[in-house]
């Protein structure tokens, strides 16, 4: 496998090691430690998983197994403006799938991935508890309700001037 090795920030790695320590470096805490790791790094690249494996003394294969098993873990970095589309039942019946398709079409990336410039990423969420506004889309912390396919372009426009 040819891959450019990612250089993690020393301070982040240090923080992760402390997290592991706070869980007594127990292999049984793997999922909890991974959660924290994802908070620190935003995602779980191979390098982070290797640190976790080392700290908890479990095999890297096992860590990778857990990361790929649970959908809330991601190995891909989020964009600077992470777009989350609710695909809960209410949103779905009101056309969330079409909205999602439109985002994918305009940004030219599949779900779970980030645009080449690192600006946007797309993920799907289960019900976010705002069913009255279905279909719901979130960009970072900002929530958009009753989104239509035409509205997708509008939303993206808001971020046009941002870097």
């Amino acid at each position: 496998m040819t891959s450019v090795k990612l250089k993690l920030k020393d301070s982040d790695v240090q923080q992760l090691k402390e997290v592991a320590k706070s869980f007594n470096n127990q292999p049984g805490e793997l999922i909890n430690v991974l959660h924290k790791a994802q908070e620190i790094f935003g995602y779980l690249p191979a390098e982070v998983q290797e640190v976790v494996a080392n700290e908890l003394n479990v095999s890297v294969a096992k860590v990778y197994g857990v990361v790929t098993f649970y959908s809330f873990f991601t190995m891909l970095p989020k964009g600077r403006y992470p777009i989350s589309i609710c695909t809960g039942t209410a949103c779905y019946v009101r056309g969330a799938d079409k909205v999602l398709d439109e985002f994918k079409r305009l940004l030219k990336v599949p779900v779970g991935e980030t645009t080449e410039d690192g600006k946007f990423s797309i993920t799907c969420l289960r019900c976010v508890g705002a069913c009255g506004l279905a279909p719901v889309v979130m960009v970072g912390d900002k929530t958009y309700g009753r989104v239509t396919t035409d509205g997708v372009k509008e939303i993206l426009k808001e971020y046009e001037d941002e870097v």
């Binding site: 090795k5 993690l8 494996a53 890297v60 990778y64």
Partner: protein, 590 residues
Amino acid sequence: MELIKLKIDNRTVEVEKGTTIFHAAKKLGIEIPTLCYMNLGDLKIEHKPGGCRVCVVEVEGRRNLAPACATECFEGMEVQTHNVRVLNARKTVLELILSDHPFDCLICAKSGTCDLQDMAIKMGVRSIPYQGEKSTYKPDFSPAIIREMDKCIMCRRCETMCNDFQTVGVLSGINRGFESVVAPAFERDLDHSECTYCGQCVAVCPTGALTEVDHTTQLIRDLADPKKTVVVQTAPAVRAALGEAFGLEPGTLVTGKMVSALRRLGFDYVFDTDFAADLTIMEEGSELLDRLTRFLGGDKEVKLPMLTSCCPGWVNFFEYHFPDMRDIPSTARSPQQMFGSIAKTYFADKIETNRKEMVVVSVMPCVAKKYECTREEFKVDGNPDVDYSISTRELAHLIKRTNMDFASLPEEDFDKPLGESTGAAVIFGTTGGVIEAAVRTAYEIHTGKSLEKVDFEQLRGFEGIRKASVDFEGTEIKIGIAHGLGHARKLLDDIKAGKSDFHAIEIMACPGGCIGGGGQPLHHGDPSVIKARQKAIYQEDAGKAIRKSHENPYIKKLYEEFLEKPMSEKAHHLLHTHYFDKKRKDVLLD
């Protein structure tokens, strides 16, 4: 011990509390079919993920069928193992598994020895009513093992062997649902993982998902090439297992028939790795004596215990997991490599040829040896000492393919000079054998006396870790033995922690030693097969005229004519090696 009574197929049986339906049924002679379940008895490996559900039975009063392998019996339980509902359910389970399985039986390496295929035959599957999407994966070709995950049924036996028994931790179940599969971290190829190539995952895989790299096509071509001198060497454990592939009882020795089969295949010289095992004892035994003498003389620098180094699976293991301890194992090469080295120098000179025109093939119970012979340090100007290694299974296949009736083959002897060996060499095939062979020689050299009795019963057995001591006329030599890398890891941790007082430790990667190697005929989850092979090995030893390596006349001659003496400069150059630090290269370490 609490006993409970239950009825299976209307027959009463009494079992200990905690017994599963599967084992209770077995007691009545009822064989409930299983696929994912694996119980390696004496090796203390029981794998019961309860995942495949091929073993379902009906339990009176329960709505759902229960997996017999993972369901405990209770008092008054009534079980039906083959009523219509059960038989239909089993067949459906199998049809579902097959709906996501390639229909490659006609061209699959496992065909004929595949548990999934056997099960389909047993269940009478005639069509696959469920047509769905099939998972496809890129095949992974490493120097020793091929992974074709399209054929994986997620029984996860391989994971248990790699993680629990071997503690190598290369394999893990990844993803979920339809996408789930067993793979190394980040779905890398095995070649980019810390795989030791012990082949124990291959030995338990019920399907063709994990198989060994096949060299038989190459071999047939080389045998047909008149310009090449093709030399074969056979490992000790092969003769104790090859017969199984021809329907003989496990533990049947087939040394003579194997030799004549190899001769009929067209090898120019049929030699024995056992010769090189005797040579290993001369080198490794001398190294041990040298370290011991220095130690007893007060030298604090000397590295003890000395660890054996004849198992390449084990060598890979410490290079990856204990690289800082790589100065403890003996520097002696494995018998396979010693043989190659001597064949392409000493013997090539004798028959007036050169290494480029000679092909050295080994027949091994082992998968790791396929990798070992590709190591750069075992090549001279790019030409390997051993060109390639075939497994016991590949040899069996080749014999069948070339129309030989194995049972009616005559018994023949190995060629000379590299075919002569002693009983000490034969026992290399089993756990405890290498160290017993070393003791036989080291004792005599150290004490200057001849052994009354060459059998050291205290070194024999099947326990994962064994400890024994041998009296060298007043000096007590403490010996440790481990088979299975998980057991080896324990002994290594002790050494690291300064808690080990052994002088010498023998380590073999596979259960039972090479007799349980990853290249042997499949044991299909029955460890008694491995034990039967062990008996055969000791039987061969007992029947040998010479049972101590240093008494092998051809070994003596080899030193006289060529190597001078054990550990000489020439011996170092040809018969010893060095180890590498292969610690997780990809890991971010501070």
